[in-house]
């Protein structure tokens, strides 16, 4: 059962022709409070790090096993990682994303990173527990029901095993990746997660460069995914970390780059400010390449709707969302969601906007 189809919030004369002062937008107490809540985290400066070239499963469409980075030599020396983290701190990095291929297979390195930089997240398949002393958020990837997991990831009982490993763990956020084929299966996953009080957020399959497989989204699957996301948000309000605007931004016919002009170095030649200046994507040999640097390297930028990319790309577009109370509320919901998903201890508030606000054009 789906909620009635939601149209994007129309830009009528009442909300586009009036030129709002930022101060007038903040005159709404709820907006002001949410703004003050999220802006405390503007100090976050992220980079990402591939920890090992090993993984205990092999998933179709995995971004790690595309391109050259998969062939980088592993550096498993904790002291080398410590020195890298110390240098990163000096460079101004305050937040680390530890990813590819499966970070749980390198627990010593995770511990070392955490000792040096205390804010971060680990992208894991959740099949191996990460020690509780590593106090990062842990994003556990879920790709559908058990049958789909067997087909796409070659692993059985994935969600059951993931929940066993992370039941009651406040670090865990289960990241459900919508593909063209698994949209309705979210309900099975959410029933299991709701039973154990787990938190979930949504990702969109974003095709690697050259990918021609069956998981790539179509206009119809994007539409259906948006409806389903909205329905699931309403059905499982205590378990889902998401917002109406998150659904719009990630299921739009245009990808994130076209909508928001991606600011990762790979698509942004400027190193003057922001992500273009500070972001690096380190390979397992602790080298990085500016031309390839983004949070999901080797993804087809035109198809990128990845949750991690949006967390930086949409969030960075504060200025163009400060046009009117509805649009700014939608952006605040997006940022509130992002922080709840990525920052330990951050509690998401109730969404300010239920409208499907259209992404604003550049001002």
């Amino acid at each position: 059962m789906y909620y009635p189809e939601q149209k994007e919030y129309p830009r009528t004369p009442s909300n586009t022709h009036k030129i709002w002062k930022f101060n007038d937008i903040l005159a709404d107490t709820k907006i002001k409070q949410r703004w003050e809540k999220v802006r405390k985290y503007f100090f976050l400066r992220e980079s990402t790090y591939d920890m090992t070239n090993r993984c205990n499963i092999r998933c179709e469409g995995c971004y790690y096993y595309e391109g050259e980075k998969q062939f980088a030599r592993e550096n498993l020396d904790p002291e080398a990682w410590r020195q890298l983290m110390q240098a990163e701190k000096v460079r101004g990095i305050t937040y680390v994303v530890l990813a590819g291929a499966e970070p749980a297979l390198a627990p010593d390195l995770l511990q070392t990173c955490y000792q040096e930089i205390q804010l971060g997240a680990i992208a894991s398949n959740g099949l191996k527990s990460i020690p509780a002393t590593v106090g990062y958020k842990i994003h556990i990837s879920v790709w559908g029901n058990d049958n789909t997991s067997r087909l796409v990831r070659g692993a059985q009982d994935m969600l059951k095993r993931q929940i066993e490993n992370y039941n009651g763990d406040s670090r865990a956020v289960f990241v459900y990746t919508f593909t063209r084929d698994n949209i309705g299966q979210i309900y099975e996953a959410m029933d299991l997660l709701a039973d154990c009080g787990g938190k979930a957020t949504f990702n969109m399959f974003s095709a690697p460069v050259g990918y021609k497989g069956r998981l790539r989204h179509t206009p119809e699957s994007l539409r259906q995914t948006r409806l389903t996301m909205t329905d699931v948000m309403h059905r499982y309000p205590d378990n889902v970390l998401f917002s109406s605007y998150s659904a719009v931004a990630h299921t739009h016919q245009f990808g994130l780059h076209d909508l928001y002009k991606c600011s990762y170095p790979r698509m942004n030649p400027s190193d003057d400010l922001g992500l273009g200046r500070s972001f690096r994507q380190y390979r397992t040999d602790l080298t990085w390449d500016r031309d390839a640097a983004c949070c999901v390297p080797d993804t087809d930028c035109a198809d990128c709707r990845h949750y991690a990319a949006g967390s930086a790309v949409v969030t960075a577009r504060l200025f163009r969302h400060a046009t009117d109370p509805e649009t700014f509320s939608a952006w605040l919901d997006y940022v509130d969601t992002y922080l709840a998903v990525w920052v330990m201890g951050y509690q998401k508030g109730r969404n300010l906007s239920d409208q499907s606000v259209s992404p604003p054009e550049q001002r």
Binding site: F22, D272, L273, G274, A316
Partner: protein, 88 residues
């Protein structure tokens, strides 16, 4: 012109200190030529926040694409001055 620029420099410094909660600096002691990105550590979100406040105050528009050029308080003040002149 120089007097106006100096006033603007002080005001931009004041907004920056207030909005970004900078410590150990006051508008008169905030060097207008210090590199805000390299030496103060401000980022695009910080600059957007300051830009929104300055837009309100001076009734001009600061384009997102211009952010990379606004790397010192003096450059921001001169940018505002140019925008206000174009308005009149």
């Amino acid at each position: 012109m120089a007097v106006e620029t100096n006033k603007l420099i002080l005001r931009v410094a004041e907004v920056m200190i207030d909005e970004l909660k900078l410590e150990d600096v006051t508008p008169p002691t905030f060097s207008p030529d210090i590199d805000l990105v390299d030496e103060v550590g401000i980022d695009s979100m910080d600059l957007a926040t300051v830009a929104l406040v300055l837009q309100d105050e001076y009734g001009i528009r600061i384009d997102e694409d211009d952010y990379p050029k606004l790397t010192t308080i003096r450059l921001i003040a001169e940018y505002l001055e140019n925008k206000m002149q174009l308005k009149t």
